[in-house]
């Protein structure tokens, strides 16, 4: 076995029937523990589950009825709200991060360290802790005097600036060679042109990273929509799950069907962009 594939446990090296069976049991166990509950959710959403005790990974009288009932309870509306929030939220977040990353990576200016520290500091200010004052700010934006409570905009704008995305963008833009920028400048390209036509196209992998992370982060939002939404017409899908569950007329099967719709987008995004995801995990955690 070559040194490159050597691992701590040396599992890949172990051969023989006993070792193979042991490996199979271990991996099957992992699969059951981590994917099993999600499999139960998938199966349950397509089965007659009128009682929590009927949850199982074996289908029970397959049906699409759960989804029909869920749609009767406005799930389509909540789903559209969620897509609206994640769509515009992500657009805003990516635009803000790209612009800020450009300034931080390609420019040297006074007070730059202060700006960087301020951005890093926001990472230590979890939105949960700011929840109460945030509702007051959203109800009456300083200077502008707008009231965003009860609106989808109120769930979007606070997510516009996210330190993680800005830092990923900054790190990536730093690696673009100076010479490219110099050459463009000598050719008479303006600041916006250099940004949009030289730097940005070279940062596509980073755009993938912040896109995937931004999507899952915004899709997973719970407390912010909970604070901002004032009636169910502006609920996002994750928020609506609790309302569905409390409804006596709704069976667990329907809650599972709505849950499936609520988890599908972020799971699909993860499965399609696994490479970007892995890159972001390591750059976010190990560099930061």
């Amino acid at each position: 076995m070559s040194a490159a594939t050597e691992t701590a446990l040396g599992l890949t090296e172990s051969k023989g029937v006993g070792a193979r069976v042991a490996k199979f049991v271990i991996y099957a166990g992992l699969f059951v523990v981590f994917a099993g509950p999600l499999l139960a959710l998938l199966v349950g959403s397509f089965s007659h589950v009128s009682d929590p005790t009927q949850l199982s990974v074996v289908p029970n009288r397959p049906t699409l009825g759960n989804f029909r009932i869920a749609f009767d309870h406005g799930v389509l509306r909540y789903l559209l709200n969620s897509f609206f929030v994640v769509g515009f939220g992500l657009l805003l977040q990516v635009a803000v991060s790209v612009l800020a990353g450009y300034a931080l990576a390609r420019k040297v200016f006074p007070l730059m360290t202060l700006v960087l520290v301020a951005i890093l500091a926001t990472m230590m200010l979890p939105e949960e802790i700011l929840a109460l004052p945030l509702t007051l700010v959203l109800a009456d934006l300083p200077v502008l005097h707008l009231n965003l409570m009860g609106t989808l905009a109120g769930m979007i704008v606070p997510l516009g600036a996210w330190a993680f995305s800005i830092l990923v963008m900054t790190e990536f833009m730093k690696d673009v060679p100076r010479e490219l920028e110099e050459a463009a400048r000598i050719d008479g390209a303006g600041e916006l042109r250099i940004f949009a036509q030289i730097i940005l196209p070279l940062c596509k992998p980073a755009l993938g990273v912040i896109g995937v992370f931004g999507f899952t982060m915004i899709w997973d939002q719970y407390l912010l929509p909970l604070l901002v939404a004032q009636n169910s017409s502006s609920y996002t899908l994750p928020l609506a799950l609790r309302t569905l569950r409390i409804d006596q007329a709704v069976t667990p099967g329907v809650v599972l069907a709505a849950s499936l719709l609520a988890l599908l987008p972020s799971v699909l995004v993860f499965l399609f962009f696994q490479r970007s995801f892995a890159r972001g995990l390591t750059s976010g955690a190990l560099k930061g």
Partner: protein, 312 residues
């Protein structure tokens, strides 16, 4: 107007070519970076720094809508620190954070060792194991709520019945409710930790393993003497991330038990939520939030200092 067009207007007439180019090389006009930073700074100001300032100022005031706030100094802090509800919530938060942090890290480390490697089978297992991380928290909570059904034929009760345990009340029993929430948190946290550990494992010098094997070291000794030292920075980072995540726990608890039964799972965030939004006691709630922030900050700074000293 682009910067290129603006530059000749502001530059003085007898400017030589080189000085103009020098200035451009330094990044053009002084306000250019600020223009690019403006959206981020405005949003951070509005939704991070102003709320933080409001939290601090509300925590020393009695907040009375329409009547005007009055200065009460440390009274809110004194009240919340002396209340049994806050103390038990703080204790629960610490227990939950510690349990989830260590549970996720130990399990995540074990998982990472098991699925480290290059084969396609392992890639599949890794992806499957990672799924819980990308499932929205609200879905995780509703799913586990159903799985934790307290009768003997609930899913989790059937599972633990296989090894001769239960039936347990899980989240409905004050003795097991906090542990049940921790298990859900570990289920979601361990795969995340696993991925970070895998990234760390990839950075370990493979030659060291080979050398250890040649020297006749057992698997256990390889882990203790090669793997663990190599992963030390990863452990430190994961510890901070997980602890901060643990302190701010809200959604799982809110959806699984909302602090019940009998306050056995009340955490600081659910308490603040109730104080602020259900009882409109914004001053006291803010005092709690500021304390939580202080705890997070102290923890982060301590770990950073420890890391710096060790690496120095």
């Amino acid at each position: 107007m682009s910067v290129r067009e603006a530059a000749p207007l502001t530059a003085r007439a007898p400017v030589t070519r080189t000085s103009a180019r020098d200035r451009r090389r330094r990044g053009g006009q002084w306000w250019v970076p600020w223009l690019f930073l403006a959206p981020a700074l405005v949003l951070f100001l509005y939704f991070k720094f102003i709320p933080m300032a409001r939290a601090v100022s509300m925590s020393v005031q009695e907040v009375r809508p329409y009547l005007g706030n009055t200065w009460v100094g440390g009274a809110n802090y004194a009240e919340i620190l002396s209340s049994d509800g806050f103390r038990s919530a703080a204790w629960n938060t610490v227990v939950l954070a510690v349990g989830q942090t260590f549970g996720s890290m130990v399990l995540g480390f074990g998982l990472a060792l098991l699925v480290e490697g290059q084969t396609r089978k392992l890639t599949f297992i890794r992806s499957a194991a990672f799924l819980p991380v990308v499932v929205p928290l609200a879905v995780t909570a509703e799913l586990w709520r159903i799985m934790y059904h307290p009768t003997g034929d609930g899913l989790m009760n059937q599972v633990i019945g296989l090894i001769g345990l239960g039936p347990s009340g899980f989240i409905n029993d004050p003795h097991t409710s906090l542990a049940s929430i921790a298990v859900t948190g570990i289920w979601r946290g361990a795969p995340y930790d696993m991925m970070i550990f895998l990234a760390g494992l990839a950075g370990i010098d493979r030659g060291l393993y080979e050398a250890a094997t040649v020297d006749g070291a057992s698997t256990w000794r390889r882990i203790v003497h090669v793997t663990l030292p190599g992963l030390r920075p990863v452990f430190a980072i994961l510890f901070v991330l997980a602890a901060v995540r643990g302190f701010r726990t809200f959604t799982e608890v809110f959806l699984l038990t909302n602090g019940g039964p009998n306050g056995s799972t009340e955490v600081v965030m659910t308490l603040i939520y109730k104080l602020g939004l259900e009882q409109s006691r914004l001053g006291v709630g803010s005092a709690g939030a500021v304390l939580l922030f202080a705890a997070t900050l102290v923890l982060t700074v301590c770990v950073q200092l420890l890391r710096r000293r060790r690496s120095a």
